[in-house]
C-alpha cells in the first residue's frame, strides 16, 4: 500500500514535467520518458562506474536531460512551430531512436543504483526502505516547490502569463521563446530527479522510461492536461489504485484498472478533473 503510493508519487513527479510543457506550449513531449531513462543511466554511470557520490551524479544527470530536452526543442519542436500533432509524431521517432541507442550502448541487462539512504525503518508496524521514504519526500517537496515557483516568482509568473496568452505576454515584454527554454529545462530536471528515484528503487534499464511515460499520460489526462493540482491528485489516486489492485489481483492488472479509470473519466468529464478544453 505505502510502497505503491511511493511509486505513484514518482510517476506524479514525471507527469508534472509532461503537464508543465503541455500547459505552457501545448506540446506533448514524447521524449520525456527517455529523459528519465538517460538520467538514470547517467547517475548509474557516474555514481557506480566512476565511483563518485550521488551529489556529483545528480547535477550531471540533470544537465544531460536538460541538454537533450533543449536540443529537441530547438531542432525538432521549434521548426515544426510547436504544432501539437506533428510534435507528437516527431517525439515518438526521437524517443525510439534514443531508446535503441541506449540498448546499443548500455545493453539490455538491468543495472542497480545503490540506495542513497540504506536501511529500513519501522512505520506503524510496517517496514519501509528508507530510500522509498526519501523518494516520496523528494517528490512532495519538488511538487510544492514547482507550485511556489509558478505562483510567487517572476519567471514562474512569466510562464503562467505565456500559458494564458502568448501574444499578451509578448506585449508585456516577456520573450516566449526563452520561457519555453526554461520550461523545457525545468521539465527535464523533474524527469532527471524522477529517473534517479525510479532507478534507485527499481533498477536501471533501457526500457525503464516507457512505462512511467505511459502512466504519466494517463495521470495527466485524468487530472486534466496542464493542471499542476490535477496532476498531483491524479498521481496520488493512480498510485493508491495501483497498489490496491496490485495486492488484490496482481500487479499486471494494475494498468488495465488505470485504463478503466481513464475511460470512466472520459465518460464523465472528457477534459479531466481540472483541465480545459483544447
Amino acid at each position: 500500500m505505502l510502497s505503491g503510493l511511493v511509486t505513484g508519487l514518482i510517476y506524479m513527479l514525471i507527469a508534472l514535467g509532461v503537464t508543465l510543457l503541455f500547459g505552457i506550449m501545448r506540446v506533448v513531449n514524447f521524449v520525456h520518458g527517455e529523459l528519465v531513462m538517460l538520467s538514470a543511466f547517467a547517475i548509474w554511470f557516474i555514481g557506480v562506474n566512476e565511483g563518485l557520490t550521488i551529489w556529483v551524479a545528480l547535477p550531471v544527470a540533470i544537465a544531460v536531460a536538460a541538454g537533450i530536452a533543449v536540443a529537441c526543442q530547438k531542432l525538432l519542436f521549434k521548426p515544426l512551430q510547436y504544432d501539437i500533432l506533428n510534435c507528437f509524431i516527431v517525439g515518438i521517432g526521437a524517443s525510439f531512436a534514443i531508446r535503441s541507442a541506449a540498448w546499443a550502448i548500455f545493453g539490455p541487462e538491468p543495472q542497480a543504483i545503490p540506495a542513497m539512504l540504506p536501511g529500513v525503518i519501522k512505520l506503524g508496524g510496517v517496514f519501509m526502505a528508507k530510500q522509498r521514504l526519501l523518494a516520496a519526500g523528494v517528490c512532495v517537496v519538488l511538487a510544492i516547490a514547482l507550485y511556489l515557483f509558478l505562483h510567487f516568482t517572476r519567471p514562474g509568473k512569466a510562464m503562467r502569463a505565456v500559458e494564458q496568452d502568448r501574444e499578451a505576454a509578448l506585449l508585456m515584454g516577456i520573450n516566449p521563446e526563452s520561457v519555453y527554454v526554461s520550461a523545457f529545462i525545468i521539465s527535464a530536471a523533474l524527469a532527471a530527479v524522477g529517473g534517479a528515484m525510479l532507478g534507485s528503487v527499481f533498477g536501471v534499464d533501457p526500457e525503464m522510461g516507457s512505462e512511467p511515460l505511459l502512466k504519466s499520460f494517463i495521470i495527466v489526462q485524468i487530472g486534466g492536461m496542464g493542471s499542476i493540482a490535477g496532476t498531483v491528485i491524479a498521481g496520488l489516486f493512480i498510485g493508491v489504485a495501483d497498489s490496491l489492485t496490485g495486492t488484490l489481483l496482481g500487479g499486471e492488472l494494475a494498468f488495465i484498472i488505470d485504463f478503466a479509470i481513464l475511460m470512466l473519466i472520459l465518460i464523465i468529464r472528457p477534459r479531466g478533473l481540472f483541465g480545459y478544453d483544447v
Binding site: F96, S100, Q221, E252
Partner: protein
C-alpha cells in the same frame, strides 16, 4: 482530369497483372515471404490511413490486429473452424470491440485521442498476456493451423498464400479507395479541416469519425487474421505499440494526401530493412530516425514530394 484518371486506372491494372504473374517469374520462397509481409503491412497502413483522413491517428491499431489474430487462433486451433469462416469473424470481432472503444475515445480530440488509443493498445496486449488459459499469456499461441486445403497452404511453397494475401490487399485497397472517394469520404476530408467547420455545414462529426474508426479496426482485424494464419504463432510481443508506430511511419513517409501514400510507404519501409538486413534494436533506431527525418524534411511524404516535383516540371 479524365485522362489522368484513365492512366491511373491503367497503371493499377498493369500493376495487379504484374503482381499476379510474379510467382511465375520469381519463384523464390524468401521473396514470396517478404511480399506476404508487405501485404499485411499494406492492409494495416491503408486501414490506419482511412481514419487518418479526419486528422486522427489510432495508436491502438496493433491492438485491433491482435484481437483479429486472437479470434482466428482460437477459432481455428481450439474450435477447429476453417480459416475461411474465421477470417471474416476476426474482422467483425475487431469491429465489434472498436465500437464502444471508439464511442468513448472519440469524446476527446487530437493528442488526447492519440493517448487514449495508445493506452487501449497496451490494454489489449495486457489482457491477452494476463489470461493464460485461452490466450496463452506472454508465450502466445503456437501451431495455429494454416488455411484449408492444408495441402495447398500448409506446404513449404508460399505461392498459394501469396495469392491469398494479394487478394486481400486488393480487396481492402479497393474498398477503402471507394470509401475515401464516396460521399462519406468527402465528409471525412471535411472533418480534417476542422470539427467546428464541418459541423457548421451539417456534418455529423462524431458519427462519421466513429464509422471510420470501426471500418479501420475491421480491416486491422482482417490483417491480424492473415498474420495468425500465415505465421502460425502470435504473442503479445508481436502486436505492440511499436508496431502501431511502424504503421504510422509508413503513412508519414508515404504521405497522407492520397491512398498511394500508405501503400508506397509500407512497401518501401518493409523492403528497405530486408534489403539491408537491419534487424532488432537497430531497426527501431532506423525507424525512429526515418520518422524524424521525413517529418522535418518531407512533411508531405514521398507522394507529396513526387507530386510537387512533377507539377513544378509541368509548369516549367
Amino acid at each position: 482530369m479524365m485522362s489522368s484518371n484513365r492512366t491511373t486506372r491503367l497503371t493499377v491494372s498493369l500493376l495487379i497483372v504484374a503482381l499476379l504473374a510474379l510467382p511465375l517469374a520469381m519463384h523464390n520462397q524468401y521473396f514470396l515471404h517478404v511480399m506476404i509481409v508487405i501485404g499485411i503491412n499494406v492492409i494495416m497502413a491503408v486501414s490506419m490511413w482511412l481514419l487518418g483522413i479526419t486528422g486522427l491517428i489510432s495508436f491502438g491499431q496493433a491492438g485491433f490486429m491482435f484481437i483479429g489474430a486472437m479470434t482466428t487462433a482460437l477459432l481455428t486451433k481450439n474450435a477447429g473452424w476453417p480459416f475461411w469462416f474465421a477470417l471474416p469473424l476476426s474482422a467483425v470481432a475487431a469491429g465489434l470491440v472498436s465500437a464502444p472503444v471508439g464511442r468513448l475515445s472519440l469524446r476527446v480530440k487530437g493528442v488526447y485521442f492519440f493517448l487514449v488509443t495508445l493506452a487501449f493498445g497496451q490494454v489489449v496486449a495486457g489482457v491477452f498476456a494476463y489470461f493464460e488459459d485461452p490466450f496463452g499469456g506472454w508465450y502466445g499461441i503456437r501451431n495455429i493451423p494454416p488455411p484449408q486445403p492444408a495441402a495447398l497452404f500448409g506446404t513449404l511453397d508460399k505461392a498459394a498464400f501469396y495469392y491469398l494475401a494479394l487478394g486481400l490487399v486488393v480487396l481492402t485497397c479497393w474498398i477503402i479507395h471507394r470509401i475515401s472517394r464516396s460521399w462519406f469520404g468527402t465528409v471525412l476530408w471535411s472533418i480534417r479541416e476542422g470539427d467546428l467547420l464541418a459541423s457548421s455545414i451539417g456534418v455529423d462529426v462524431p458519427g462519421s469519425k466513429l464509422v471510420a474508426f470501426i471500418v479501420s479496426a475491421f480491416f486491422a482485424g482482417a490483417a491480424g487474421s492473415l498474420y495468425a494464419a500465415y505465421f502460425g504463432y502470435i504473442s503479445p510481443l508481436v502486436f505492440t505499440f511499436e508496431y502501431s508506430v511502424n504503421v504510422l511511419v509508413y503513412i508519414v513517409v508515404g504521405g497522407f494526401a492520397s491512398m498511394a501514400g500508405p501503400i508506397v510507404g509500407a512497401v518501401v519501409l518493409t523492403l528497405v530493412p530486408e534489403l539491408f538486413r537491419v534487424t532488432g534494436k537497430y531497426q527501431m533506431m532506423a525507424f525512429g530516425l526515418i520518422m524524424v527525418g521525413s517529418m522535418m524534411l518531407m512533411p508531405q511524404g514521398i507522394i507529396g514530394a513526387w507530386q510537387q516535383l512533377t507539377t513544378r516540371r509541368g509548369r516549367a
